[in-house]
Symmetry: C2
Subunit: 355 residues, 2 copies
């Protein structure tokens, strides 16, 4: 069983940053690198969404990598999205090697528009880049009152098959979002491996050892040393392996892209594919009845007696939602190295953080 491991946190290594100045700084940095203002805002929003959920490796810690990839020409800050194929219910988009957060936001927005017309919208995207946190995009659907699903490819294989000693597939992330009437929506954000490389890196950053069952070393042996980890293990054995293959096809060959085992380039230079699916439940049934039933079930589950080691029963995404609410009021706690890197980046571009 894959145990939930809280994201590493240690206040003595962190700086609390106010959110609006942070958003403004990121957007300004991206605009200086050539992005259009509204697309820079879009990317900044997605990076901060990820930080608010505690997914810091997909948050503004990515900004430096993004800028570096723009400098080497691996990401085009003004890429144009091209529609390759389209019907009332689906589309295939070519993201032109632009910023993943922008391509993915636009693609989910298109899926939402199609769902409002025909009940569902499915959009596959090719030639994009790392989009960060999958939860951010299903949250866009939820904010518009729709059910959303998304998944993404990464680069080459880094995750063992169920039953292999070496990497077979990728650590695709996938997310589902379902609106509730009030409080936290249901937002399920999974990686197909028991843990993501981002989480492994965060453990290394904080000098923490990994939980057992997350990774294999170069010789195919279990390791708890984040610096020795070379292969991730799939979550739940054949569950995570199977889901990873499905995600690799939806965000891969279905969009005209490759499977993980056919990818040779590294992270941030390999073309990345995404897949989005939005469902407008008001086209299926009475939306009030839908929300009544989901809300009632959520409250029934919250009232169950917790198992040992749990203070209460939480729904998927609830802890992240509570965290985001808290950060919106009190500011965002980021690792001091992340903040220093942001300040350094800003300075090189002649910008000054307003904190």
């Amino acid at each position: 069983m894959t145990e939930y491991v809280p994201f590493p946190s240690d206040p003595s290594q962190e700086t609390v940053v106010p959110i609006e100045p942070l958003r403004k700084l990121i957007s300004s940095v991206l605009e200086r690198k050539g992005m259009f203002g509204y697309e820079a805002d879009m990317a900044a929003d997605r990076l901060i969404d990820a930080d608010l959920r505690g997914k810091h490796a997909h948050g503004c810690r990515m900004l430096g990598q993004l800028i570096a990839a723009m400098d080497t020409g691996d990401i085009d800050p003004r890429a144009e999205m091209i529609t390759e194929t389209e019907s009332a219910a689906m589309a295939v988009l070519d993201a032109g090697e632009g910023v993943g957060q922008v391509a993915a936001t636009k693609a989910m927005q298109l899926a939402i528009r199609k769902a409002r017309e025909t009940g569902t919208g499915t959009v596959a995207v090719k030639r994009s880049r790392d989009f960060g946190a999958a939860a951010s995009y299903v949250q866009l659907a939820v904010d518009d009152g729709l059910i959303g699903f998304c998944t993404t490819s990464t680069s080459g294989p880094t995750v063992a098959a169920y039953g292999s000693r070496t990497p077979a597939t990728a650590d695709n992330s996938l997310a589902w979002g379902i609106p509730t009437r009030e409080g936290a929506p249901l937002v399920l954000d999974l990686s197909c491996a028991g843990a993501s490389w981002a989480e492994v890196k965060s453990h290394a950053l904080y000098g923490m050892s990994l939980p057992a069952g997350w990774t294999l070393d170069a010789d195919g042996r279990d390791t708890q040393d984040p610096n020795a980890a070379r292969t991730l293990l799939p979550a739940g054995g054949f569950h995570g392996f199977g889901l990873s293959l499905v995600c690799s096809v939806l965000a891969g060959p279905l969009a005209g892209g490759k499977m993980p085992s056919q990818k040779r380039h590294g992270y941030l230079t390999e073309p990345i594919e995404h897949f989005f699916y939005a469902i407008d439940f008001s086209k299926f049934i009475d939306p009030q009845r839908f929300l009544d039933r989901v809300q009632e079930a959520v409250e029934q589950i919250r009232q169950l007696p917790p198992a040992n080691g749990f203070d209460r029963v939480r729904l998927p995404g609830e802890a992240e939602w509570e965290r985001a609410q808290h950060c919106r009021q009190h500011g965002l706690a980021l690792h001091r190295d992340t903040v220093a890197e942001l300040e350094r980046l800003a300075e090189t571009l002649g910008l000054k953080p307003e904190w």
Copy 2:
């Protein structure tokens, strides 16, 4: 980590039955109970599909329950499927409390037809009954050269939340099917709990104890006794719990049905909801290129060095596909109690098995 546990099998307790006579017998039994001939054939096909995959609890072992539910009026053998809502890409169907296997087959066929027109088809079904093995329906999409997804509700809550001591959600099954160019297609069939009640019952039938981490007893303690099991544990903790909630909404309120915690009736009398999603990849991209890439990746993964305890690396659904191929040639090994029950059922209806 959820380990793969082979379906129980013990040749000394089994009888090998030829497939065509079995199919004919089941169809004749169902026709005698009032079903239309082509719908009886449809139901027989799905029961045998399940047996061929080794999912015997969803196979012809269900026939007796089906007949009993028809006798009590809980299943209508001549139910009419009503289309409640429809667009080019989606539909909501009312199955009229008919046979789940028939409702689900027709619903997936509709999703396939819509996908052929607009690229994707999404069909939600309400007021159905247990449809058996989810893999059978995605196989229908695969047989037609499409990607298929399906999930289903069951009855009330029997699976713990991640972090609860008592049942919170249901053991929804879900399946994805993806065509390959040759050999086994990718067919991923998961239950959201680490194991299904069907598997627990099979262990009881064969007098085997359960793997650790599958179930809790009436007091919320871990148990390996299949007869003492009262609550299933979710697969991979929050993974399985989250997927179960998503499936419960898609095959539930989205179709006009209830969430598991709102269900009060028992198995085979509670209205069941299903959800189907078909993707015609030829509407997205060049289908030959799609198949080339999927096929190449499958072969690359099969050639990886196996981990300890594995003879080779298999793709999802491959073992079940090999098993089905073998049974088609050599007949189907069923538990002798299942065969005796079938023969008894046939006799009461004046039918004689042709084996």
